[in-house]
Point group: C2
Chain length 302, copies 2
Amino acid sequence: MKTILPRMVSLHEVALRDGIQNEKVIVSTEEKIKLIDRLADCGIRQIEVSSFVNPRLVPQMADAEDLWKKIKRRDGVRFSALILSEKGLDRAIQCKVPHVGIFVSASETHSKKNSNKTISEAFDEALRLILKARSVGMEVRAGVMNSFGCVYEGRIPVEKVTALVNRYLEAGPDEICLADSSGLGNPFQVKDVLQRVKSITGNMPLALHLHNTRGAGLANLFSALEEGIDSFDTSLGGLGGCPFIAGARGNISTEDTVSMLHEMGIETGIDLDALIQASLDFEKVMGQTFPAMVSHLCGAKG
Amino acid sequence: MKTILPRMVSLHEVALRDGIQNEKVIVSTEEKIKLIDRLADCGIRQIEVSSFVNPRLVPQMADAEDLWKKIKRRDGVRFSALILSEKGLDRAIQCKVPHVGIFVSASETHSKKNSNKTISEAFDEALRLILKARSVGMEVRAGVMNSFGCVYEGRIPVEKVTALVNRYLEAGPDEICLADSSGLGNPFQVKDVLQRVKSITGNMPLALHLHNTRGAGLANLFSALEEGIDSFDTSLGGLGGCPFIAGARGNISTEDTVSMLHEMGIETGIDLDALIQASLDFEKVMGQTFPAMVSHLCGAKG
């Protein structure tokens, strides 16, 4: 039996948000703009520009307003922001952000730690935010954090995820995103969760946000491809996660993902060589070697 | 449709051969013995102890005879060596090595560079070695290097691989091993090659030797699991490959593989916590941080 994989996959670049949000080196607004332009030049068509959060809690995102004012909007490129509160949404509305991500956690413990709300309270708030965002013409991606596991609670029952997705559908988002925020998913489970969620979402676009914490990131991606998923969050260089301990890794890397997809004959519209160069240049800005593999091949052709 | 995965997977540990063969730090015979004992204590049941090669070309393997004399053989643990020539086989016979790996390359260019022989010449030699090894009671794993691609020739036509496997079967090896020596395979191709090779090998055990050069190692492994493959080469810490350039990576790591398999409910018989500790201790011997991910998780539980 032949597996039918998607012919084209879209990547949503999160280096500027998930990637750098915990990094010690504060990236200047100018460097962020430069990176955004380079990513768009490489052919990336979805770029998460910032989150709107308390700048005291996340100093890396303190320039959100300034950044949104200065970026060159381009036809065909979807710029987006992550929203965590009504205050954040209001700031995004001020900045004319066209696309927002709004997430709740499937883990009660994580929800409490992350937002000081129960899942139910966080969800009610998320629904209000989705309706408000849509009422001002924003596109909305509604997401479930820790869909595959939680460092505090372990494996998350799939019923918790499907229940949240079901309720999201009432609010009519433009896309559903399942996030393996802690990198605890495995390829077998990914298949199982996706099969269950797809049976609810039908034709609603469904994206996956994967981390490579345990090295299984691209295995999870391949498993999802086999389930027909064609939209993934990736981070340039594999930035993200906990940067303060050697070897701890973040999101699946954009370049390794593009490399694997292209090798499989799946199109992304992205110029891999240019992307690798952008990643190596951004390493200099961040003063570190990123975990991505294809940017660090040994010798001319590996 | 549910995927049926193997319930139990065997790992063949190659850190002592593929892992360290190109490393600058020469590991003492005593440290090698200590590591072999620890790996066996962790539950690993197949350990590649050394290759028998010219010590001037591979100084790390210069103590092969001494090592084989000193290791504690254990019931249920398969100790093996890699053989590249008749001289090497004769040394292995002297050392009473019970299991040898004998490989040819599927790439003409690589074969010339590796052995100064055409594939056809190398294959004739390999067949002679297999027959000789079997005549003295050794078990033989017959392998094909570069089964999925070659840095010099690019993609290797699957027909070249199946032709070699077909000829191997005449010599009656105990196992066939397909090696992605350059880490160029992708999960879609792995499926294709395995389906073609399995149609020839029937019930002959079939193992996969994967590298994580481009980050797709565990994706390739998952793809192979879906094809029913239940035997893989892994290297403690993900050692192997080219160690002299930052970020260049080697074999798929034993601990990340065990972690992913266990998360999927697949048994390995290996104690993951003990394995991680062995990896962290061996990092000290090698004076480096290994690329494996689960040994470097951030915080208590990731």
